[in-house]
Symmetry: D3
Subunit: 254 residues, 6 copies
């Protein structure tokens, strides 16, 4: 089975730079996968992407050495299994507020006896290789998202769930959950909570990640000890870049 | 009929800043159309876009005041008519190497007696309005691309063709045609030819445009007198912007 | 944020005429949105429409002043959040049989502290505007469908759920649930129940709506006091209209 | 090979009622094909339909006894062959202005020695049957559109081209070509020309057809002797029907 | 309503040969449906197929007498209703581990009073006929999949659920669940369990089916008494057949 | 630039085994590309495939070392350029009946000064590499199809056209053109002509290929000296393989 290079990087305490894809286009995904990221995450939750488009995006990413990941729209086990069958080498699962949800997510990602994943992975066998079944339980990466007050209250119990590879923090929803506003870099109490989550997670030997608005914020989070970071998402990066170009031109026009 | 704001700008000798779309996604097109460009050109020639995707991109652009344009894959009259029927407010037609081709392009864009466009514009009537037929010959914008030695040799004759609204220079192909390499800012002989084309076109009272690699090149071309410019295309801008973010992060990682 | 014109109409006790879309086509949706309806509801339950098509249909509707709504396939919170992220200005949620379901629907439509909607609305920000987050809890419209005996039995408790904007009756399923047949205008007991639901809902100051088979039935329901009505759906209207045309022709042929 | 029922009807001087499809949706096409029409024409010229959608629409139509036809975007032989390979049982080819074009159209529709159609019809063999090659030259229907002054001037020569099954008049473009306005029922000179075309065509034993705005116009054309008529197109019929429903409702609201 | 020929075959204790479709293509589905199978099952669980593609595949299958079935991605009632609305004449529902799940599956497939299916079947009415509602509860076929140790432990209770038409065994997942490996023909304990499931199911007068790897395994299962069998799936059959062709050629090349 | 392995094989007089793809599905293409073929040809002429699907199929093929080729629907230069821009590493161009057509095909595949290909290859740069422009004229493979009496009569002149890499024979159309029937292995006169074409082509140092019905015919053609062969196409191979499975089962059922 094809090696999951980012799982190896995380185990070695290295940083993984991830691209976040929300534009439903296999060509766009291929452009992104050729930028040099370690991974691309196809976002089925807040991205404008559905299953058929995700499949073609995974194919496009698979033309490179960049690792394809998926964020399911929720923690539904059936959807997670479908994403993995399509060739994702891991999931970043949103809204894992309880240990029961975490157990269900792990079960969806692991074949028996470790879990209850149903067998029949069409692109797993093509992208991963004919020995996919023998190694999938080792290679597939499971990140769970901690992004609510409830999840924080249940954190220890959630981190006890065997099979979780890492915790990914959703700062926007976490902040909203604590009564704050939106933004990837909340201050005050939520900032402390983010630090606490990272510390506790790392103490278990699990990987840590957090959604970042841009490259500068990625720097900051890496310095704080986070391993999995992403500079915004494709639509935001494109919009910002085009607006910079436009202002360059408009300065000249005026 | 909805007013073609960029045709009015060009007539008033104002600058039109255009976005170049090559990613086949209506969501991506809507993101671009919300950046503040005057127009978005959906590229059916070198973009990875086909008719169905173009249609949905025109719809996405039409949610804003940005004007939808199309670049056909060639100068085929039937394709041009299909693009206009889908609601484009103009075309930038590639490879117009002779006056005959220019006449055919104009004929495809104008209803009789000015041309031979066939009647039945489904999105023309929705996006343009119920009085589309009465005004389409006035509002639809026709740019022809001059991008070969043959076209330059035929330039005067091409510019004599009635109904052409403007000339758009393709610097890459023009340079190749003269034995040079690729690049949007060719030097030497081809640079002089570009200047000559612009001068002759403007002398006829026609609008001038040229493909630009980025905002800085747009500035340069505007200073030279070009009216229709575009800072690269979506895929290129996205790739560059993501690579900048990545190098920001990698500097920190090392 | 763009104003939700139909929410304002309903608050002012005005009638809202809605089109029901079951054909998966952005062009068809744009045709419908240009007919003059106040809203178009994209039906993911009984319509032949999936997420990608819904997205393009919302874009098509957004080229006009008609308000885009979505009917999710069920009451799943994740799906509702995805529909809103794609730019719907409200949902008409089917099968809300209990107060718990109603609470879950409201939570999916409202950001904290009013609910638990996850943040990241790509088309919300494009169609709604950059200040989407500040106003979404006010502008997004929540209709819940009462369409079973169980829901009727729980009606008072359901109506007590804070955040619901209106009740929409599904007469077909309601009739089936009481042992009747299919049809949008059930008689007898179910007719009385429909009246009771409308009365109780209006008494709480909530809006009332009901699925109607055609314009004549809309008239009747408006006279009864309903505010949100729709003349059948697109596929049915098209089929009836074509059959009328055909019978006109066949009369002549014979 | 499956029998082409409408070719048989036309040979027997019977009327064929055709539906005109411009909405790119296989579900919509299936709805239309269940209305009772003799044929459905998928319009690649002024319809918002491309090849992939046409294919799925032909499949949808093929669930019924209604015969699938295609209108190519122009008279290009390659496109015509692709439409037939996808299972169309005939074409209505636009803009056949000369006998040379007519010959090219016939050649694209007939296997050697009658023409030059290239062999390899995937859906021909599925929808038509395993003996498709043996009978296709007999069963495939060829209508050419006469819709310009040039075509009228060349009419006798065009009608002499062997293999043409019928002439279909495009009244909008014909009227424009003679300096008139748009509309399916032009008066005066163009009305006389329509009559002349019909008479000459019928005199050769060929079938005659004309685009009609609605059922009442179909009646009129049938009385004039036309055999192939269509009551408007799907988008127009849907829009009119919804507007009628809306005005019914609005009368009541006021 | 169109007769469900395979339900009749099963009731008469006849064998039904089913094709398993995992390739998301309506053309591919039409090719398969023309091979002579009694049914084609569109696989939304392990197939690379989503809703829009399933719809077009059902349309393609409906051009023949082959019966369209769907395997939902899980046992979610809303998804099952959507599959039936799209014209499936039955479902093979995975992971029915408890009697409660079985009851929920039956309820999703039957209109009241037998179940709780919501009314509004667009393709049911087209493919099935205008009297769909009157007969759907009789014609729609319900297979539930027994494929886990939990399901086996609950087998008697599951088989007691009224409305189930048959049991379909998933040998891969069943084997994994008992600690074995993957493969459609598990030996030892699991083989005995398969036999036990078949015997108990048949004793209730219900139909029995099992996923088979190829035609030879179908033979074996038919001899064991299974009624619903399938020779592998489309992707596997295509891959094997192409590999056989390749080895034929490579033998010659060497 | 990524090396074109099959062009190297052909130059070294080795055999290239090609798969022929007519099913419009990127998943199906990926399955085929994993079978071990040297190349996969996406067929836009007789395949049920359009541009958007071709693009996604090229992406799927590019996940492997198999080389992606395209057969355009005709010899149109614009379409050929679009296929190459999407990442094809060569074309097999149908209906090259004259030297002028051959020259036009070569011009579409080669950048100046060897041809007139327009610059801007989005997937060329991703799949091929950043130095695509420098090497594309060397790596892109040009096969022209000889498949008519006219082409045979012009053979010497066609073979004189500089830049052609090989000749691919279409036996079906060639046979039809000489008054024969359909079939990939015509006998008599056409068989002699096939041999003559192969001999003359090879004498110029050009590669030779021919469409084959299956692996056995590939063997035969390789023994005759052909270098580029294909065992039928995907739809045919799938249908045959499923029919073999079915007859295995039906033997047992009877």
């Amino acid at each position: 089975m094809r090696y999951n290079t980012i799982k190896a990087l995380l185990r070695a305490n290295k940083t993984v730079v991830n691209a976040w894809a929300s534009i439903p286009s296999s060509f766009c995904a291929e452009v992104i996968a050729n930028c040099g990221f370690d991974a691309v995450t196809v976002d089925l939750q807040h991205g404008m992407i559905d299953y058929a488009q995700m499949l073609s995006m995974f194919q496009a990413i698979s033309t490179t050495n960049t690792i394809p990941l998926g964020r399911p729209s929720g923690s539904n086990a059936v959807e997670i299994m479908r994403i993995l069958d399509a060739g994702a080498y891991g999931v970043i699962c949103p809204q894992v507020d309880t240990a029961d949800i975490a157990r269900s997510v792990v079960a969806a990602c692991r074949y028996p006896p470790l879990g209850a994943r149903s067998y029949g992975p069409p692109r797993g066998l093509l992208y991963g290789g004919a020995d996919y079944f023998a190694h999938a339980n080792d290679e597939i990466l499971i990140f769970i998202m901690i992004e609510s007050k409830q999840a924080v209250e249940n954190l220890d119990e959630i981190l006890d769930v065997p099979g979780v590879d890492g915790v990914f923090i959703g700062p926007n929803d976490l902040s909203l959950s604590y009564g704050g506003g939106v933004g990837c870099n909340p201050q005050g109490e939520v900032s402390d909570i983010i630090d606490m989550i990272r510390t506790k997670t790392a103490a278990r030997g699990l990987a840590t990640g957090i959604y970042c608005a841009d490259g500068v914020m990625c720097q900051m989070r890496i310095h704080q000890g986070f391993q999995l970071v992403n500079p915004g998402n494709d639509a935001g990066v494109l919009k910002s870049a085009f607006e910079v170009q436009l202002s360059t031109i408009q300065n000249c026009v005026q």
